[in-house]
């Protein structure tokens, strides 16, 4: 596949790996005081695990998995709101696939569907709009989820609904923004990150300028990265090169996709339909100022929160849940007390285990056995069953 296969070339991976090792050696960190690079975006977390990228890095370079997974940071209270909306008899509730499994305080959308609610998976918000046109007697609600990558698509769908005079379509808006989150992470005193891999597809919309405060005010390198494995390795190399040369800049590794000024048509659509919320709750991280958007007054007829009643309750995570600490990069998944015990993909306690690119689920599914030396995980018994 064009623009995909070339960025999965194994020979170039080996070459990059060696150059990364050389750079890391020059910078002079160790396994006990490693270089810590945060990949912000859930898609990068997925790539790292899918391709085993850590196997190409020396032990003195580590990834810290950031909170850029919109499914993972969805608060339970908002899931309960989704379920409440879906359970209304005249509603068709449409959602992306990955959101269906996130547990609310009583049930997930998948369970609500099994219990009789009309919940339908869609690939695009445009499919939800089409459902509204095909079912004029029903109310179609689209669960809008995602960072700035997905906001323009939702916004454009609302604009199309308005232009076509559709009155049975609305949006339950849970879109969140990346910059306030990055600021919150950088402001956090417990973290000591050395650099960032920036979210490639968010940047395709917002451009590279919004990240300048990271270099200017916090003196940390940030490389906007693509998602193929060579992109990720190349970006790690670029971060290390900056550190080695004493630079702190915003660099764009993903130039084939990310324009410096972003996408004006997409940004216009977002500006037209959405406005910033004063604050928004993130699961595991608490409330972050200006980190969410809501539908503007001018498009109120398409706002499910105005059109319908939602419980809008704040539900705390289970006490044993340490998702917040993992999201902030303070601990690794396997350091969480309930990892692989009470919390597993079959019985997830927190969102990081539910979404397939939550760090905990990724770690559990892809890397829980140390296979770099093909050594058996110490907890496995002689019969191969986990203890």
């Amino acid at each position: 596949m064009k623009y995909v296969d070339e960025f999965r070339n194994p020979e170039q991976a080996q070459a990059l790996s060696r150059q990364i090792r050389e750079l890391a050696a020059r910078i002079g960190r160790t396994r006990t005081r490693p270089l810590q690079i945060m990949e912000v975006c859930g898609g990068h977390t997925h790539s790292i695990f899918r391709y085993g990228i850590t196997q190409f890095l020396p032990e003195e370079v580590e990834f810290v998995h950031g909170p850029g997974c919109p499914v993972c940071v969805l608060p339970m209270g908002r899931v309960d709101d989704c379920v409440a909306l879906a359970e209304q008899p005249h509603v068709i509730f449409t959602t992306f696939g990955d959101a269906m499994r996130v547990p609310g305080s009583k049930k997930s959308l998948l369970k609500a569907k099994a219990d009789g609610a009309d919940v339908r998976m869609v690939y695009s918000p445009l499919d939800a709009l089409k459902l509204a046109k095909d079912n004029p007697a029903r109310e179609v609600i689209f669960f809008g989820l995602g960072f700035e990558t997905t906001m323009p698509s939702t916004a454009m769908t609302v604009l199309q609904a308005k232009a076509e005079g559709i009155n049975n379509f609305s949006l339950f808006c849970n879109h969140i923004t990346i910059i306030p989150t990055l600021r919150a992470i950088l402001d956090s005193p417990e973290l000591s990150l050395d650099g960032f891999l920036g979210p490639g597809h968010v940047s395709m919309v917002i451009g590279t300028r919004p990240y300048e405060f990271i270099a200017r005010d916090f003196r940390k390198p940030i490389v906007i990265s693509g998602f193929e494995p060579l992109d990720v390795l190349h970006s790690v190399w670029m971060v290390l090169k900056q550190i080695d040369e004493g630079r702190a800049e915003v660099e764009n590794q993903y130039g084939r996709i990310v324009p410096r000024d972003g996408n004006p048509e997409a940004l216009n659509a977002v500006q037209e339909v959405f406005e910033v919320r004063e604050f928004f709750e993130w699961r595991g991280l608490g409330s972050i100022d200006h980190s969410g958007v809501r539908v503007r007054e001018a498009y109120a007829q398409f706002d499910a929160e105005r059109k319908f009643h939602v419980p809008n309750l704040k539900i705390a995570d289970p006490k044993s849940c340490q998702c917040g600490d993992v999201l902030k990069g303070l601990i690794k998944p396997q350091q969480c007390k309930v990892f692989r015990k009470e919390c597993s993909p079959e019985t997830p306690l927190g969102a990081l285990m539910v979404s397939t690119e939550g760090a905990c689920a990724a770690y559990y599914n892809y890397a829980r056995i140390d296979i770099s030396n093909l050594e058996t995980h110490p907890e496995k018994t002689a019969t191969g069953k986990t203890a």
Binding site: A15, P125, H201, L230, N263, A266
Partner: protein, 92 residues
């Protein structure tokens, strides 16, 4: 949210509604091209474009020159590395 995949626009379906057909490795889907059209690049001229597809929209046209430049850089690093290896392994 990040799952975007490169695809080629192989058909214009509805210029008014800005709809086109994208082909990703032989799989086709109707997408909206509103984000990649402007007065210099109308809907009809999207035919043949390589784009990044995300939730049913073409988000951006892939910059072929930039792609080639990145690949050339990666290749160079690969060649440089194998030269270094050769030097290390050659006996003097």
């Amino acid at each position: 949210m990040c799952l975007g995949i490169p695809g080629k626009i192989v058909e214009i379906v509805d210029p008014e509604a800005k709809l086109a057909t994208v082909d990703v490795g032989g799989v086709k889907r109707t997408i909206n091209v509103a984000f990649i059209v402007n007065k210099d690049h109308p809907v009809a001229s999207c035919l043949g474009d390589w784009v990044l597809v995300h939730v049913g929209f073409a988000m951006v046209r892939i910059d072929e020159e930039e792609a080639a430049a990145t690949l050339a850089l990666l290749r160079e690093m690969g060649e440089y590395q194998s030269e270094v290896d050769n030097m290390k392994h050659s006996a003097i």
